[in-house]
């Protein structure tokens, strides 16, 4: 590589080079995220469909229609409930696992590989495994329960040989939440691991010199120190889950009836499958204020904790 020079262009000007380096990426993002986002709002206020492409302004009609729709109300509530319930379990498991995986033990590499699989596998493909395990007739979970005597004639859980995981309202909801926890715990764990490994070693050494036991170090030193990171982990998994439609698309398509239909899926079904782009856009826009509030709240909590 020869010497780089562009005539009299000031290749040493820090600010100029900085702006030059940053602009292409910023431009791409503004074009590919900002523009569609504004278009999405425009769609929400129009009557655009797959067939009819011109945007004529219809005011708040779409939003009102969506808000007054009973299905939408249920979908909205389901989405929030799924998100909140799963976060509790994700945080508990992620904390335990982060502590486990920041220690040294024999077989750690293999254990970590196994435990990371749910996160590494493309969601839609991992769901195929669950779809088969939760199958109405051939469910391997049902088979185990049957062998334990919990299913079948006189069984504790049901007289039937199957539980119909994805066909019974309660069980379908439980299944979806369980699977979401299953696939998102590793991500939260990895973020927490980053937090744990960033604690300055001199603090931990000092604690050891002072004779602090494992549990005490964990509860009184490590956990308070990684609190801001925990908030970031929570933010990540909440927003991922709130916007997710893949899990329910593969597992239940929102069924039975509407019991597992979430916002993303509903917007897809109305907007793309039903061809009503305007209403689909309006539905997904209802998620935005909530997402924004979550992001701002969590970022503020995180930065406040950092200052302290």
């Amino acid at each position: 590589m020869g010497r780089l020079s562009l005539g009299s262009f000031p290749l040493d000007n820090r600010r100029l080079i900085g702006a030059l380096f940053l602009t292409p990426a910023l431009l791409y993002i503004v074009l590919l995220v900002g523009f569609p986002f504004i278009l999405s709002i425009a769609f929400g206020f129009s009557d655009v469909t797959v067939g009819n492409t011109d945007l004529s302004f219809v005011g708040f009609r779409n939003f009102l229609a969506v808000w007054e729709n009973d299905i939408f109300r249920q979908v909205f509530e389901t989405t929030i409930r799924f998100t909140l319930i799963s976060q509790v379990f994700i945080l508990i498991f992620a904390n335990i696992l982060a502590v486990i995986f920041t220690q040294d033990f024999t077989g750690k590499w293999f254990a970590r590989f196994i435990f990371i699989l749910p996160w590494a596998t493309p969601v839609s493909l991992a769901m195929i495994g669950w779809l088969w395990m939760l199958d109405t007739k051939y469910s391997s979970i049902d088979y185990l329960l049957l062998q334990l005597g919990l299913l079948g004639r006189g069984g504790l859980l049901s007289d039937n040989r199957n539980l119909f995981w994805l066909a019974a309202p309660d069980l379908a909801q439980i299944s979806v939440i369980f699977v979401q926890v299953w696939r998102m715990t590793p991500l939260a764990t990895v973020i927490l691991m980053a937090g744990l490994s960033s604690i300055p070693t001199d603090i931990l050494d000092q604690a050891e010199v002072d004779g602090s036991r494992f549990m005490r170090t964990l509860l009184q030193i490590k956990l308070p120190l990684i609190l801001p990171i925990m908030v970031i982990a929570l933010l990540f998994s909440m927003i991922t889950m709130f916007g997710d439609m893949t899990v329910v698309y593969v597992l239940t398509r929102g069924g039975p009836v509407d019991y597992t239909r979430v916002l993303g899926l509903y917007s897809f079904q109305v907007g793309i499958e039903g061809g009503n782009l305007a209403q689909g856009a309006a539905i997904s826009l209802f998620a935005f204020p909530l997402l924004l509030a979550m992001a701002i709240f969590m970022l503020r909590t995180a930065s406040r904790a950092e200052v302290r």
């Binding site: 080079i17 292409p24 590919l32 493309p122 493909l125 991992a126 051939y138 997904s284 997402l291």
Partner: protein, 317 residues
């Protein structure tokens, strides 16, 4: 086939044997090396609750993949007639793998996914390498704000944007073409990579660049010849994770492309290998497992590096 048949039909005994063998080997090796068998045994016993917890978590994490593996080689009769999911009663078969590769569009899906992934990674690197360096070193407060903006953009879920994106893709005439995905995917890989790379760049000591500047290099040269080579491990792990992000994406792929032969893995497998109510279970499960294992290995290999980049970007940023 014979080896596979033997392994699968004796699966459980082999698993238990392997586990006990490994534990025994470890105890034996440690005892020989440190010469205190009883102490070693006591140590293993004391650690067993810890390992029990690890095993329970591993069991839940692995269950679907384990089931995928176990069922890929079953004949239809073994799978559906009075099913016993955990044992082989009939000779294992490779017939379903043959079906998957020769009678379905699976190879097309793989080709499309790789094509899209590689193209997106190249675009991502071109955009995010300089941008991340600018955020790490060159810009002041407004750069910091741009960084936070990028972080927020990464949090905008595809479910919020797929409808207008669909419209744009149709207008550009890119519908049913993997090109549409190549254009759109950088919208999430670029913020992600910028964030990660910024962490790796910050880990390079600034003195090295200062030295290069004193030697008569300009800023751009210092970036190209000092910072980039030094952060190569970080860049490689960014490539790996950006690639897998494209592999994971589902919604855009589902909405933009309806043509079977143009679909990517994550969309093609769950939609095209299921015909109405007919599930081709063994090929389906195999198709998922074949993707899961290499990606899992790659993640495990580069995890430490990801954690490091994350820490540098988020904590010291």
């Amino acid at each position: 086939m014979n080896v596979l048949g033997f392994v699968l039909t004796n699966f459980w005994s082999l698993l238990v044997l392997a586990f006990l063998g490994l534990v025994g080997l470890r105890i034996g090796w440690r005892a020989r090396r440190y010469g205190a068998t009883r102490k070693e045994l006591r140590y293993v016993l004391r650690r067993s609750p810890f390992y029990f917890v690890v095993l329970v978590f591993c069991f839940f994490a692995a269950a679907p993949f384990f089931i995928m593996f176990l069922h890929t080689f079953k004949t239809d009769g073994d799978l559906y007639r009075r099913p016993q999911p955990f044992v082989y009663r009939q000779e294992p078969t490779l017939e379903h793998l043959d079906t998957l590769f020769n009678n379905t569009a699976y190879l097309d899906f793989i080709r499309n996914s790789v094509l899209v992934g590689v193209a997106v990674v190249i675009i991502t690197l071109l955009l995010s390498l300089p941008a991340a360096y600018a955020l790490a070193r060159l810009t002041g407060r407004w750069g910091e704000r741009a960084g936070i903006l990028m972080f927020l953009v990464y949090l905008v879920p595809p479910t919020l944007l797929f409808i207008p994106m669909f419209r744009i893709v149709v207008l550009l005439g890119l519908k049913d073409s993997p090109l549409s995905l190549i254009v759109v995917y950088p919208s999430f890989t670029v913020p992600f990579s910028m964030w990660l790379l910024q962490g790796f760049f910050k880990a390079v000591p600034p003195e090295l660049e200062e030295a290069a500047l004193v030697d008569g290099y300009n800023r751009v040269e210092a970036f190209l010849r000092v910072v980039l080579p030094l952060s190569l491990p970080g860049i490689i792990s960014t490539v790996v994770f950006a690639f897998t992000l494209t592999l994971h994406e589902f919604i855009y792929g589902l909405v933009f492309i309806a043509d079977t032969s143009q679909r990517t893995l994550s969309v093609g497998v769950p939609t095209e290998l299921i015909l109405g109510d007919v599930y081709f279970w063994q090929p389906l499960l195999a198709a998922a497992l074949i993707v899961a294992i290499p990606v899992g290995l790659a993640y495990n290999l580069f995890l430490d590096s990801l954690v490091q980049g994350f820490t540098m970007g988020a904590v010291k940023g």
